[in-house]
Amino acid sequence: MALRLTVNGEQHSLDVEGDTPLLWVIRDELGLKGTKFGCGAGLCGACTVHLNGQPVRSCSTPVEMADGGQVETIEGLGSGGQLHALQEAWIKHGVPQCGYCQSGQIMSAAHLLANNPAPSRDDIVAAMTGNLCRCGTYSRIIAAVESVAGSSNGQEA
């Protein structure tokens, strides 16, 4: 079916089967490989992107449900050549180990801070709890999010 998607501010017209998960459209049709496949069932969060401002599990979101929508991925998170404050914090705090889950982690954190610039520890844990990390980087994730939440940079997603 013919679909229209705006991904990271760029408009795309696509012809794909409507039941194709948004994940595979982003990765294979648009070539944006930063969003990862982890479980295919919305259980791990590695594929998290923003659809119309909401975090969704793109592995289990049929692309037809995103038709006409605005999608933001890890590649579009920064602006004007600058990384998002969370990405800077991730680097500064040395969060990633294998790194495979981190795009999804950052997208979940970005949505949290866009809606709640000064979250409590409990707010952060609640927002991040659907994103699994097999390497065990959870404590660095909290530290990185808190470092941004504590500054004035956490306003935009």
């Binding site: 794909v16 089967e17 039941d19 194709t20 998960p21 595979w24 294979d28 070539g31 944006l32 490989k33 930063g34 969003t35 990862k36 496949f37 982890g38 479980c39 295919g40 069932a41 259980l43 791990c44 590695a46 991925t73 890890i74 590649e75 920064g78 990384l83 990405q87 991730w90 680097i91 500064k92 040395g94 969060v95 990633p96 180990q97 294998c98 790194g99 495979y100 889950c101 981190q102 795009s103 950052i106 844990v125 609640a126 991040m128 709890t129 659907g130 994103n131 699994l132 990390c133 097999r134 390497c135 065990g136 980087t137 959870y138 404590s139 660095r140 994730i141 909290i142």
Partner: protein, 734 residues
């Protein structure tokens, strides 16, 4: 994983002498085979390449799967080369003899060996290149080389003012020859080793630009999926190929040695076609055991065969005869899956008589053998490109996913990417073996006088040698592959290394007991197995440290003091034990409703003690806090050491809380993260890591955090409930 240092297949070293380029003399390590120097670049050794435009490339021979080789090994070479690690660009190594892991004589990353085996060679390589650069500069300035020095990528003139960038010296340096011994920098002059610095791969991994195997993209690439039998060893009888072949986007449907392959222009179309497959399987030779049968077979084997003696001191029998009390316990541990977050995948392209593969693999030279097995090609016709790995934990030591991609690529002659679903990843894993342990101890006058440990279960090398033996001898004709594997097994301990996978961590029992009897009853129920983050140490750690706890309680002694007394002559054990107890405030009572448990365990040369503070909340067991002390010798990157230890703790806790793969009539029952659960952010305990400042040679940190946390958790639950849990995973209702 751990193999010992005995040479792998020593039998044929004479014939293969030309292949095994010595890594023992790192300064002399050969330049990569087939390398022809072009002007403007210089390769002083197998690892470094410096260019006239002042770039420094470092060939990383140990893959990056999260454990930090990308940063840690680069730091080693940077230190002696005298350049900031951030200015070095690491590149993943191709398959070549000089990149083999000297402990295994295979190019593989595992066993927490990367830093230990690179510690001297990489620093030597950096130092030699630095000396050559200094000699070249001294020749230009016509001064004594001994009065020049190098700093931050430049050689500095004796006047302390003039300097030359390495890039300008590349051509001259390539003509210099270093004679005599090379002195490494003393510890007090280190600028990068042991200093708190970030990870060199953090930026790529925080921006979505790091390329993992699953991200590889090739022109005209198509996608392959494979329908595998639900039970290991099942064979395809017939399937509805014509029907599926007619589906949109489907290019090929055919039988491979692993099942039925479906190739389509898009991944999702391949998946939909796979769902439409109707396959009749032949299960006549397939695995048919259930988990209960496995443990029953272990018990029968244990009764019938006392096992091979792996360590014997004094006389355990006599100790029992003279004992006042004898304690016995049986521990059982389930099969465990790896669940790397990046599922298995590989991309292959067959053209011009060669197969090129892109894959997240821990053992690229075994990948070449895997390709050779399923094609008419020899290992030399195969190129393996290694990517970042989205987790490894031992799973990617086995190259079944490369074998699949190669079989498809060989047939369709265009680039193909094979991606496993999570369900396939869980169900077609090679598991951490299920194990049984029978423990017996004698006590006299409050003293532990005898220790008996019978380990019951399979050995991993039985499963691994199939491809590992041929990989060591890539010159061997293919018809010899199976023979090499069999010879390797028959000559275990002589020709192949003794397989330590079942007994590691048990035979190094560190406590001072006069009578020790440690045995392994070898029995294999046929369930596919492989290494898993800390492997044998993970199950032996639980058995040894839980039983030690039982003995402490039996004697009425504090579990920390009981251990302390029995390792009093082992200073490094003692140090971490004391530090962990201090860090956890062991002497003070635990908060209301919680209790503490302790464990001490050395693995991969690294000493770790942990205190777990646990409780039961809303009917579920919960860990609140883990205090950990670690001695891994010289620390190269404190940030990574702390992360690896904490990561190991969470990996172990995940196993203790949830880890269990069960089989029903040969079929794995779990499939995804809902029934093979990983510890989540909400249940993360507070983790404190205290690292001993040591100048001893560095040892691994990727795995040693795992083993002690499981028994420490169980011991805490015993302290809380008074009920001993002797099987895993741990439960609220024991």
């Amino acid at each position: 994983m751990a193999m010992n240092r005995r040479d792998f297949l020593k039998v044929s070293t004479g014939a293969s002498g030309s292949l095994v380029v010595s890594l023992a003399l790192p300064g002399c390590a050969g330049v990569q085979a087939g390398y022809e120097p072009r002007s403007g670049e210089w390769r002083p050794d197998a690892w470094l390449e410096l260019t006239e435009s002042d770039e420094v490339f470092f060939t990383l021979a140990r893959v990056e799967m999260g454990q930090g080789t990308y940063t840690g090994l680069t730091t080693l070479i940077a230190e002696e080369l005298e350049i900031e690690p951030e200015r070095i660009t690491p590149r993943f190594a191709p398959v070549a003899p000089e990149y083999r892991n000297p402990l295994y004589k295979l190019q593989l990353t595992g066993g927490s060996t990367s830093l230990a085996t690179s510690w001297e060679p990489l620093r030597m390589a950096g130092a030699e290149a630095r000396l050559m650069l200094i000699m070249a500069a001294a020749r230009v300035w016509n001064v004594d080389a001994a009065e020049c020095h190098a700093s931050e990528g430049r050689v500095v003139h004796p006047n302390g003012i003039d300097s030359m960038a390495y890039g300008t010296l590349v051509e001259l340096a390539s003509k210099e020859v270093v004679r005599g011994d090379i002195a490494l920098k003393p510890r007090e002059r280190w600028k990068y080793i042991g200093k708190q610095r970030g990870r060199l791969d953090a930026r790529a991994k925080s921006t979505g630009t790091a390329v993992y195997g699953i991200d590889v993209e090739l022109p005209g690439m198509v996608y392959g999926v494979i329908a595998r039998p639900s039970r290991h060893g099942g064979r395809v009888r017939r399937f509805n190929g014509d029907e599926v072949r007619a589906m949109a986007g489907v290019l090929e449907v055919f039988e491979t040695g692993r099942g039925v392959a479906v190739v389509a222009d898009k991944y999702w179309r391949a998946r939909k076609a796979q769902e439409a497959l109707s396959i009749e399987w032949d299960f006549s030779e397939a695995l048919s055991v259930s988990t209960d049968d496995v443990f029953e077979s272990y018990r029968t084997a244990a009764d019938e065969d006392p096992g091979e003696s792996e360590r014997s001191e004094g006389s355990f029998e006599r100790a029992v005869e003279r004992a006042e009390r004898v304690l016995e316990a049986e521990y059982a541990q389930p099969y465990l899956a790896h669940a790397t977050l990046e599922p298995m995948n590989a991309t292959a392209w067959y053209r011009g008589g060669r197969m090129e593969v892109w894959a997240p693999t821990q053992a690229p030279d075994l990948g070449r053998i895997a390709v050779a097995r399923v094609t008419d090609l020899g290992p030399d016709d195969v190129i393996i490109n290694t990517t970042f790995l989205g987790g490894g934990f031992g799973r990617r030591l086995t190259q079944d996913y490369i074998e699949e991609a190669a079989a498809i690529a060989y047939r369709i002659k265009r680039p193909v990417k094979v991606i496993w679903s999570r369900e396939e990843d869980i169900r077609h894993d090679l598991y951490r073996p299920a194990m049984l342990h029978r423990m017996k101890a004698s006590l006299a006058g409050g003293d532990l006088t005898g220790w008996h440990h019978q380990i019951v279960g399979p050995q991993i090398l039985d499963w691994y040698v199939r491809n590992a033996a041929p990989a060591q001898y890539p010159w061997a004709p293919k018809f010899m592959y199976d023979t090499l594997g069999k010879v390797g097994l028959m000559a275990e301990g002589i020709a192949t290394p003794k397989d330590m996978s079942a007994i590691e961590g048990a035979v190094e029992y560190p406590y001072q007991v006069d009578n020790i009897d440690i045995r392994h009853t070898h029995t294999d129920p046929g369930v596919p197995i492989t290494w898993w983050r800390s492997v044998g140490y993970s199950h032996n750690g639980f058995a040894v440290e839980t039983f030690m706890d039982e003995l402490a309680h039996e004697t009425g002694e504090d579990p920390y003091q009981f251990r302390r007394r029995l390792v009093s002559s082992e200073p490094r054990h003692l140090e971490v034990l004391d530090r962990a107890a201090r860090l956890a405030d062991w002497a003070a009572p635990a908060p209301q409703g919680r209790a503490r448990g302790i464990a001490l365990f050395r693995s991969f040369g690294t000493y770790v003690a942990q205190v777990v503070e646990a409780g039961i909340e809303n009917g579920a067991i919960r860990v609140y806090k883990v205090a950990c002390a670690v001695d891994c010798g010289q620390v190269v990157n404190p940030h990574i050491v702390a992360d690896q230890i904490e990561g190991g703790i969470l990996f172990g806790l995940t196993a203790a809380l949830y880890g269990e793969i069960t089989l029903e009539n040969g079929q794995v029952q779990q499939s995804n993260f809902h029934d093979y659960q990983l510890m989540g952010q909400y249940e993360r305990p507070e983790v404190l890591v205290d690292i001993v400042d040591s100048a001893e040679a560095p040892t691994g940190v990727g795995e040693p955090g795992v083993p002690p946390v499981i028994p420490a958790f169980g011991n805490a639950l015993f302290a809380l409930t008074g009920k001993r849990q002797r099987s895993l995973p741990l439960k609220a209702e024991a």
